[in-house]
Amino acid sequence: MTVYILCFILFLVGLYGAITRRNLVKIVISLSVMEFSVFLFLALIGYVEGGSAPIIDPAKPDALYVDPLPQAMVLTAIVIGLATTAMLMSVIIRIYRKYKTLDIREIKNLRG
């Protein structure tokens, strides 16, 4: 069970960062960390002790494979994470152009 607990701790580290940090890029990094922990959690769920990677060799099939469905889910979710990151990055560039700062406290509507 330690693995799961550590995974949750990683999630909470990200959450802590997202709440307390005051820098736009730092917030994005915190979100990525949370993303990582969720991906890892899904991959952990699918793991089967002694199973092999879900790629069948028709010549010598293995007895036990790990669950491919969580992997498919994570695959989709990773791409979505990249899309979100790219969007956030472009917004940050624009905001920096307008305000010359990345500090959230100096940007009017984002304060608080």
Binding site: A53, I55, I56, D57, P58, A59, L75, V79, A86, M89, S90, I93, R94, R97
Partner: protein, 142 residues
């Protein structure tokens, strides 16, 4: 970047591109597939841009057609999915080509086709995002 980087990048870019195609085409046999291969293909262009600057491949503007390529490819994916409603069992996302023998290069019905088009789409998308973040912002300042 120095001469060393430029020369090596030239050598490597072709290999990277070929490797991306390998990953895409073998998506149903080995790990990878459309997404990973697409990003690797985009990586070969990114490598060249990093080493030589964006004027090198005339990839200076959005008008290079990356968005057009991307949209054509994703439209092709959608059309393959819709083709299942016309040929075969008349179902959305039907695998309407014969499955073939497991482990061969030509097998798995339409999956390689999806892989190829998703790969093109992803390559164009990543390249567009990179160009947008790296080059278009120059235009904002002007």
């Amino acid at each position: 970047m120095t001469l060393i980087v430029k020369k090596t990048t030239q050598l490597l870019a072709g290999i990277v591109f070929l490797y991306g195609i390998y990953v895409i085409l073998h998506g149903h046999l080995t790990p990878g597939g459309g997404f990973a291969g697409g990003v690797i293909i985009a990586g070969s262009f990114i490598l060249l841009i990093l080493a030589f600057g964006s004027e090198f491949m005339n990839l200076t503007r959005e008008e290079t057609g990356t968005t057009l390529t991307e949209n054509l490819a994703i439209l092709a994916v959608l059309l393959i999915a819709l083709a299942g409603m016309i040929v075969g069992a008349r179902i959305f996302f039907d695998n309407w080509l014969p499955a073939g023998k497991v482990g061969e290069l030509v097998s798995a019905g339409v999956i390689p086709l999806y892989n190829i088009f998703v790969g093109i789409e992803v390559a164009a998308s990543i390249l567009t995002i990179f160009l947008a973040l790296v080059i278009f912002k120059e235009e904002i300042t002007k």
